[in-house]
Amino acid sequence: MRRLTSFSILLVAFLVLAVQNADAQQSDYQISRDFQEQYRSLDTAISSAISVVEIDSLINEVDALEEEFSEHVTILNAALYPNNFEESIEDLRSDARVAEHKLLIIENQNERLSSLTNEVSSYESEITNLNTRAESLRQAIATSEDSERQLSGLVERYRSSMEERDEFILNMIDSLLITYEDLSPEAVSELSEGAESGEIDEQENPLQIMNTIIESNTQRLKSADEALDTEDYLRMYVVQDRFNEVWSQIGDELLAIYGGSDHANWKSEISNNLSDYRASASRNMWQSLDVHLEEQNVDLDAFDNNESFYNALNTFVTTATEESRQKMLTSDNYEEFENFHEFWNTKIKNDWSQFIQEGEVLTMSQISTIDNEIVNWREEAKPRSFLFPILLGVSLLIIIGLIIVIARR
């Protein structure tokens, strides 16, 4: 019974407190201040939100704010003049929608950046594997005491490994080109923000990876490598040429996205390394081509670029054609022709054709001109047959003899 009485007293006290609380008076000014404080707080939270989930939660809070203060709309319209309650809430919602849209783009860009980074990271790992394999084969060749046949097998594997590596690098830079070319300035800016927010570490930075490949390829070109032949150097020249081409197309975008505060340093370093790379690839390729021609007994004038190579070929063929014209009775020139023709058709137009064209060692127009010259040379160099003139002369002598005999009779 006593318990029941105590409970009843507590209940009454609670009800009295509840009623008093329900009757709590409010200051209009305080209501407007409460609204404006909550409004400012939400506005700040919306401006600084960093995820779509957070924005969605804030949009719910805007709805709750509107519901909480909707009964005070008259007071708030006066307090918020020249704005009003409805417009203020709509402004918040609009800010939230804009922020949500921006965050959606950023989140998509971050996902894209992450995907790009993973892709680049896989390139880096694959190139490292290929480098390791090629280097171990090169070391094996250098230290090999095996028989010539076994050594030849090692060299073949090494060249194959280098070819695979170059092919992979070409695919990688083409993939980079597809990914980064034609990015809008907004996309570059958003990816740049993502990259600067620390989501990319140095080893995954495409600039770092490109620079490492350039340095590694240049180093490889600079170290004498007797295991490689002209075709390998032509391929390496093409890889270098493609690197330069891709850098000129997407270098600015990569620098804008991944350069950060070192933008100028990256630009300078990669440009210098590319120049060095180009010089080394070019020197090796032309020297190797020169050596190959010498081995084929094709003695051209000196050349070290596309133009001088074409001029040397053109001079060689026209000179040989002229010599053939003057020495029509000998077969020496025809052997020289056949020698050159073999090199031209087998190597330039067949085995090396892809690299010759992609690296613009010779243009299609230059190849076509030399082709025409070669046709002329063939005509002039071909050994002449003197049987018909001899038979004709003999026949004429017989006829003249017969006429003289008949006339004497």
Partner: protein, 162 residues
């Protein structure tokens, strides 16, 4: 002679009538001066408070002198100001025992009524406007007094102070 007097008087009356007609006052009725929401103003170092929104500024010191005496160094942090529909300003602050009803005149606020609202000083006053009346709300005690320029309206008229 009489005719001359009558004529002179008539001319004078007509002149007065014409002058009276031309000086007729232009008046707009039913003007509502009310603030929908009170202004809470912070006095500057010089004692001036300024309500930028409603375009009024005045010195708070005369109110402090009136409330706490000439020699008092009592300071207040906020002044609460509201205007009713008839254009009277209602002014009070924390620790005040009164609400001051002030009538605006040329460059002046003239005391219309000094309404005693507390014996121990208000601790957390606020003004709300409810139709023609100004409510003085004491937030701590939930006490409400409805005021107009003549004093407290919903309590005994005896409590009004002039």
């Amino acid at each position: 002679m009489n005719l001359q007097k009558v004529t002179t008087t008539t001319i004078c009356l007509l002149s007065i009538l014409i002058a009276g007609t031309s000086c007729k006052t232009f008046v707009v009725q039913d003007v509502n001066y009310a603030y929908q929401i009170e202004s809470v103003l912070t006095p500057g170092e010089d004692g001036m408070v300024e309500d930028l929104r409603h375009g009024i500024s005045f010195d708070i010191q005369p109110f402090l002198n009136e409330e706490f005496g000439e020699d008092s160094e009592q300071e207040i942090r906020e002044v609460r100001l509201i205007r009713n529909s008839k254009g009277f300003y209602f002014i009070t602050a924390n620790q005040f025992n009164h609400v001051y009803v002030m009538e605006p005149t040329e460059g002046e606020l003239k005391l219309k009524r000094k309404i005693e609202v507390s014996e121990e000083g208000l601790s957390s006053p606020a003004f709300n406007l409810r139709e023609a009346l100004v409510q003085l709300v004491e937030m701590d005690s939930n006490r409400i007094l409805s005021l107009n320029e003549n004093g407290i309206q919903e309590r005994n008229e005896e409590e009004d102070q002039s």
